[in-house]
Symmetry: C3
């Protein structure tokens, strides 16, 4: 493994190996494994879990890390090619990335969706531009359309909880949110669950269909693994027998890049907030998952989040263990 950009770029054996290594590192510390190694973390967008879990994970393996946040103690970085840089950005990623890479053994980059051009975001063009000029192992800390660290942590969480892979019913449900959010987590989650062999249902209001390239990737994963992928606006049908309700808000693709129209379109959907009655017809031990941060009583009710179905802290905790496995494989092989 020379990069960690997308679960789809790994074989199922590689994923199984990472999950096994993560479980091993959780049980058996290896405090010298990455002694002398340095991880550079470049955040174009805010972070709590990702920053903390990578810094802590690197330290637990004996390595070090540093953080650069353009616009916060560092100038703004340009990502577009060929522009005359006489505006806000003082430096181009074509310099910044190789320079940061020259100080480190691996680099992680977070760069959210631009949110204006759906095709550009679906192609992950900004992130891939940066990947192109990175001479050291690169880790995707969430890009416009992917979040493989989250996906791998979620996979481990379902394994830890013995949620069935083959035959397991995974419902990704849209939820209301005051802002139009990126597609990265829903895209990563459906793909991951499908690749795990689960029967995946995308539950969302009309107009919130995930873009076809996202669904096609998930279907392709399901074909390989023996899972399935469908989508519906019918909550009752979707939730029946579910083993997991994975809640996440995302912007309405039909109004991508048009925030006023999107807000109006979303306005009447505040009842898309996961509550206890959503679990009436699920499997008895159905779990509630979310990548965090989550807005209480907006995306999900307090009673669900504070109840025994919620595994959101467990999910977040697993971010560290799977990322330690990724760092281990990238930096030690």
């Amino acid at each position: 493994m020379t990069n960690f950009l997308d679960l789809a770029g790994l074989g199922r054996e590689e994923i199984a190996d990472l999950l096994a290594l993560a479980a091993h590192l959780e049980r058996s510390p290896e405090p010298k494994a990455l002694s002398g190694k340095i991880l550079a973390l470049l955040f174009f967008n805010p972070s709590l879990r990702t920053l903390a879990s990578f810094q802590a994970g690197m330290a637990r393996l004996g390595g070090s890390s540093f953080v650069i946040s353009p616009g916060q103690g560092t100038w703004i970085l340009e990502t577009r090619d060929g522009v005359v840089m006489d505006g806000a950005a003082a430096e181009h990623v074509r310099e910044a990335i190789p320079v940061l890479a020259s100080y480190a053994d691996a680099l992680g980059i977070r760069s959210f969706a631009g949110g204006t051009d759906l095709a550009a975001d679906l192609s992950d063009s900004t992130f891939l531009t940066m990947a192109d000029v990175c001479p050291v192992p690169l880790i995707n800390l969430e890009s416009a359309i992917n979040h493989p660290c989250q996906a791998l942590g979620d996979w481990k969480t379902m394994d830890d909880l013995k949620i069935p892979a083959q035959g397991g019913r995974f419902v990704l449900s849209w939820a209301w949110h005051p802002k139009p959010l990126p597609l990265a987590v829903p895209a990563a989650a459906v793909h991951m669950a499908a690749l795990r062999g689960m029967d995946v249902t995308v539950l969302r209001p009309e107009g919130f269909e995930l873009p076809e390239p996202v669904m096609a990737r998930a279907r392709q994963a399901a074909e390989v693994s023996g899972g399935s992928v469908r989508e519906t606006a019918d909550r009752r049908e979707a939730l029946e027998g579910a083993h997991v309700i994975y809640a996440k808000s995302w912007t309405a693709p039909v109004h991508y890049g048009n925030p006023e129209a999107e807000a109006a379109f979303r306005a009447g959907l505040r009842d898309w907030c996961v509550s206890d009655d959503w679990f009436a017809t699920t499997a008895p031990d159905c779990r509630f998952m979310h990548c965090l941060p989550v807005r209480r009583n907006v995306v999900v009710k307090d009673s669900v989040l504070d109840g025994p179905r919620s595994v959101v802290v467990h999910e977040a905790g697993n971010r560290m263990w799977v990322q330690m496995a990724v760092l281990y494989r990238l930096l030690r092989g």
Copy 2:
């Protein structure tokens, strides 16, 4: 010791042990003591000394630390219970604290007073909400009404300088400041000096009386230790024979949460700035103490701060040694 939230929660023997350990660590480095341990630092408010001394102290013991500052590279965190989170805060501390704790062996939190509701701030309700959901050893990095790291560092400083405990005269003096400041440091300082067995005088203009619960806590400590606590607006009376003038500004409790009225009330008090003539009737070697940051020629004159009475840098330096002792006891026992 399983937490470090309040000096009042420790026995006098525990405090003596921490001070002895701090002095030991200052003389005899133990660069492997916390090898492999990780400290999470969560700052809801600015910091210079606390951040630097905890990061340096953890490193000097062989451990690592990471810093999260909500609103600076991380979203704003909600602390109130039961709210519909459709405003600025994207995540609740009920998730954020356990998640950060899952990456670390101990957690430090700084969360200043809200400054609007005196009863809420006196009860330290926001900090205690976070303490309730923290599953690892927790350190108070300054809360609405407490600052035990500062108090312990100040105690060590007085021990270092052989300032008498029994019979030592400790004057906490209010000082003018352009902003209404929290009560945390004055509350912690009077309690600490009383617990050390000193004769404590709170010197402040009329209307700046420390709230009764703060004074009651200090009196209770004095009863145990053989010290005493009084307050006065008479500078001459207060300063006579003093061994320490500890300056600090704080908001007028009578106008708590009403900044305009408070500013008007405070307006005529710019002569509450410690100058050389304050030391005319003190003990000859009376020291000037302040927790820092301090505004020169506002809270205290240059001549005092640059003269031999000032021990403010010594106090700040002691923050690191006492905090190393706290970390050592929390993480190694």
Copy 3:
């Protein structure tokens, strides 16, 4: 060596020793050399390379570092003496510097030019005020008029590339930029190249003459080393036979502290952007250097920066190796 403030403060043998040590550390890691040592980094201005390369370099030598950025998670610091601090600044460097130093084994400070008073900036008064109160080894991370870490990294880069010292032709060329930039890098670059023994040409439009104290320092270095220093506005004459074009924008000294007049004065000079045709009469293997960050198609064309003449990433990479040598000598002798 007890500080690293200015290349002019070192003997040529000390510089040769640092360059040799940097090359050694690049080839042969010494991951325990600074074990237990702590570096404090205080940034009054943004940084990417300096922050990252010092944190990474310290970690590669087994040490630790922490970062304080006044105004970002820390209050604003006052640097002027004798002022009544009732404005934005909550703390004076007379306290902050000794306090940070008490937590660390060495301190680095970045403090850019004020940009209003040329004489004050040329005398580096703010930085030297801070140096005066620093009780531990101090490193200049870029001050009003100096950037010795950059200069030393550039020197190593020219050595690595076997660019001639005696007889080597070094052209520092002014370039257009949307903002008036400080004089620190051009001042450090001409001095360094002169001290290396090169024939230095400062190429700049009329009105952008480097201030006489800057030129005098460079001439003095040239006298010692056998180099030479001249300046011209004639691009054709300047570039003939050049081994290095080192581009950098700087404010017009004639309009120092008057941004509107300076912007008007600079307005017509957008053709001062290094392009391929600048290399028509240079030495065949003439290199393009820049300290970064660089604005593409403003200071230099994409074709130059993406072509084989550009060594800007190599320069930036060398920052880490030379700084590791500086840290090594300061902290281990």
